[in-house]
């Protein structure tokens, strides 16, 4: 019973890492379930270390998940229960990733043209040199660069231009799905807007589906159709972006929203920040029960005893909290 509209389905995904020199494990992603519909942008937000990047990488199986199930366009890529593991090469063409750091992610010794051409060579897309070159130039123009840029090296480019190169490289193999891991976080505000608009244009033109990872809720809200909020390896709330911003249900989401610095002095003066006490616990020793309980203003005994399920609280809106009805009163 697979849903035609779903491009990606992730169920109970876990990714643990060993801690060097000890028997501890990092619970980087600890049972995450969500889906992404074809052609939509699913935003993933949460604080540093909550497992956003790890989620993106395990979906592409750049790191092998500890357990769970990943289904892409009806095909099982990974299922720890049945032991199924798909050969990834054909899917690598269809699923791509754009990285946060536009400086570190490009090989400084390769020209921009070769950087963009490399994935085409890996997947043997062109045997004809002229066609390959034409495609490179086409891709560069897609991302707002020109043919003259093809022979230059990454260090000759600004951060925003490098990020464009990274995106052209991801597009080189005609993917359907792109994991965008903080693709604008390192860029200046005025350049961020250029790149965000480009992502939107490319999506419309090429019918792309995005998993858009960022810690900046206002950017994620702008670009996403639906948003998942992560905390300490768990998804604590999932909803459409408007629903999430205007009717958030989870205490963590509420504090996250109230902490967004609003670039409007009148609104900023009126709004009250919900300032959370303390810091995020370590994913090596996560708290029992609800991962958020150590900082939660609503926590009671049950919160330390059992993990709240990510349950539907309104159509298309899920949250994981024992006291949803008390929150926000």
């Amino acid at each position: 019973m697979s849903d035609e509209r779903k491009l990606l389905e992730v169920s109970d995904l876990k990714q643990y890492f060993p801690v060097a020199g000890s028997r501890d494990v990092v619970h980087a992603v600890d049972g995450v379930s969500f889906h992404i519909n074809k052609g939509e942008t699913f935003g993933l937000v949460g604080e540093s270390g909550c497992g956003k990047t790890t989620t993106g990488r395990s979906i592409l199986r750049l790191t092998e998940p500890t357990s769970g199930r990943i289904v892409f366009d009806g095909d099982v890529l990974f299922d720890s229960q049945t032991g199924e593991k798909a050969k990834m090469l054909p899917y690598r063409r269809r699923m791509q990733i754009v990285f946060q750091d536009p400086y570190a992610s490009l090989d400084p010794r390769m020209t921009v043209g070769d950087i963009v051409g490399e994935p085409m060579d890996i997947h043997k897309l062109f045997s004809n040199k002229e066609e390959r070159q034409a495609r490179i130039l086409e891709l560069l123009s897609h991302v707002g660069l020109n043919s003259e840029h093809a022979n230059r090296y990454p260090h000759e480019f600004s951060g925003g231009q490098r990020q464009r190169v990274g995106i052209a490289r991801a597009l080189a193999v005609d993917p359907e799905f792109i994991v965008c891991d903080e693709p604008v976080s390192a860029l200046d505000v005025s350049i961020q807007a250029q790149v965000v608009n480009m992502f939107e244009d490319l999506q419309r033109e090429l019918g792309l589906t995005y998993l858009f990872i960022a810690h900046d809720l206002s950017i994620v809200n702008h670009i996403s159709d639906r948003i998942g909020v992560m905390y300490l390896g768990h998804l604590v709330e999932v909803a459409s972006s408007d629903e999430l911003i205007f009717h958030s249900a989870h205490p963590y989401t509420k504090s996250l929203i109230s902490a967004v610095p609003i670039a409007d002095p009148k609104t900023a003066r009126k709004s009250k920040r919900i300032v959370l006490e303390g810091d995020v616990p370590s994913p090596v020793n996560p708290p029992s029960g609800c991962p958020f309980r150590t900082r939660c203003p609503y926590q009671t005994e049950v919160c330390s005893q059992s993990m709240p399920e990510l349950a539907e609280i309104a159509p298309g809106h899920q949250a994981a909290c024992h006291h949803i009805d008390k929150v926000g009163e």
């Binding site: 540093s48 961020q192 807007a193 809200n221 610095p261 409007d264 900023a268 810091d279």
Partner: protein
């Protein structure tokens, strides 16, 4: 009589001399700040925010020099002081906190050691008084169990806590001015909210002036009284927070505001980016520095520096459009 300014920078020009040539980092920067004011400096990477603020502390890299104008702080003529004289002012009358708290903390000394050192250096407190003051400062910045923290090392604290410790150190002798250079950029939003809340609270309680350097318009909207918008080493607009957000008079300011998403807007609105790339300071444009990226650019913008036009006592901008509008309304 003229007002007693806490900071009075007049037409400051500052250049760095590099093998590739003269980098004109600051080009005619004028800033006046009253005691107890919170000034935000915004602008893109490389626009000169840090260089401006550091020059108030006499902290300019060896290859850099003030080549014009004057910098006055708390009655001192900073550009005329020697390094020795400057050291007496730094940490006592003006302190600074950086984006990365580890810039200010030494990993091999305890928190207590480092805050104590700051206190001993700038006050005549001794022995137990120093320890008492350390504890007082740590409580002031909202660190619980301060006595226990004194014995800890920086790596035993989280990023947010480290930034609190750095703030405590900066406040050790109640400076008149605190310069905060992107103090929350490296922190998570919920921790950023804690630190901003703390800084606002301390500012009210201690009445010190703050210069808040940030690229985040959201941070200045909630924190600052006044804002200086910098572009390529110039202050292109300066005004009260509301002037800047609701009555911007420079095309770059307008562009900056249009390029960020409106958070509480249910209707989807496409972002309006500023096209093009930032200025190369080795080869700055002859006219308005923003001209190459400006949608409203006129001929005059390309070859003549725009005159400063004042809209109120504390609101000015440098953009030819204002001059044009004024001329048109006079006709």
């Amino acid at each position: 009589m003229s007002e007693p300014w806490l900071v009075n920078i007049q037409h400051e020009k500052l250049s760095f001399f590099t093998p590739a040539g003269e980098v004109k980092a600051l080009n005619d920067v004028t800033i006046q700040m009253k005691p107890g004011e919170v000034l935000g400096i915004v602008g893109e990477s490389g626009s000169g925010k840090s260089v401006t603020a550091y020059s108030i502390m006499g902290l300019t890299a060896d290859n850099g020099r003030i080549v014009g104008g004057s910098v006055e702080f708390n009655g001192h003529q900073i550009d005329k002081l020697s390094e020795v004289e400057m050291r007496k002012i730094r940490g006592k009358e003006v302190s600074i906190i950086f984006q990365d708290p580890m810039t200010s903390l030494n990993p091999v000394y305890t928190i207590g050691n480092q805050i104590g050192e700051a206190i001993r250096l700038h006050t005549d407190k001794k022995g137990d008084e120093v320890k008492q003051r350390c504890i007082e400062l740590l409580s002031l910045v909202g660190i619980n169990e301060p006595e226990k923290r004194l014995k800890q090392y920086p790596h035993e604290l989280s990023g947010g806590m480290r930034q609190r410790v750095v703030i405590a150190m900066a406040l050790a002798c109640e400076p008149k001015l605190l310069i905060a250079d992107e103090p929350t950029t490296a922190l998570d939003v919920t921790i950023q909210a804690q630190i901003l809340e703390l800084m606002q609270d301390l500012q009210k309680r201690l009445g010190m002036g703050i210069i808040m350097i940030t690229h985040d318009l959201g941070v200045v909207a909630s924190m600052c009284d006044r804002i200086a918008v910098m572009y390529a080493g110039e202050i292109v607009e300066y005004g009260e927070v509301d002037d800047i957000f609701y009555n911007p008079k420079h095309e770059y300011t307008r562009g900056l505001i249009a390029s960020i998403p409106k958070f509480y807007e249910q209707e989807y609105e496409r972002l309006v980016p500023i096209e093009g790339q930032p200025v190369d300071l080795l080869n700055p444009p002859a006219g308005c520095p923003f001209a190459p990226r400006c949608k409203a650019c006129m001929k005059v913008c390309l070859n003549q520096k725009p005159e400063r036009m004042d809209f109120s006592e504390r609101h000015y901008a440098r953009c030819w459009l204002n001059v044009k509008a004024a001329m048109e309304s006079n006709q």
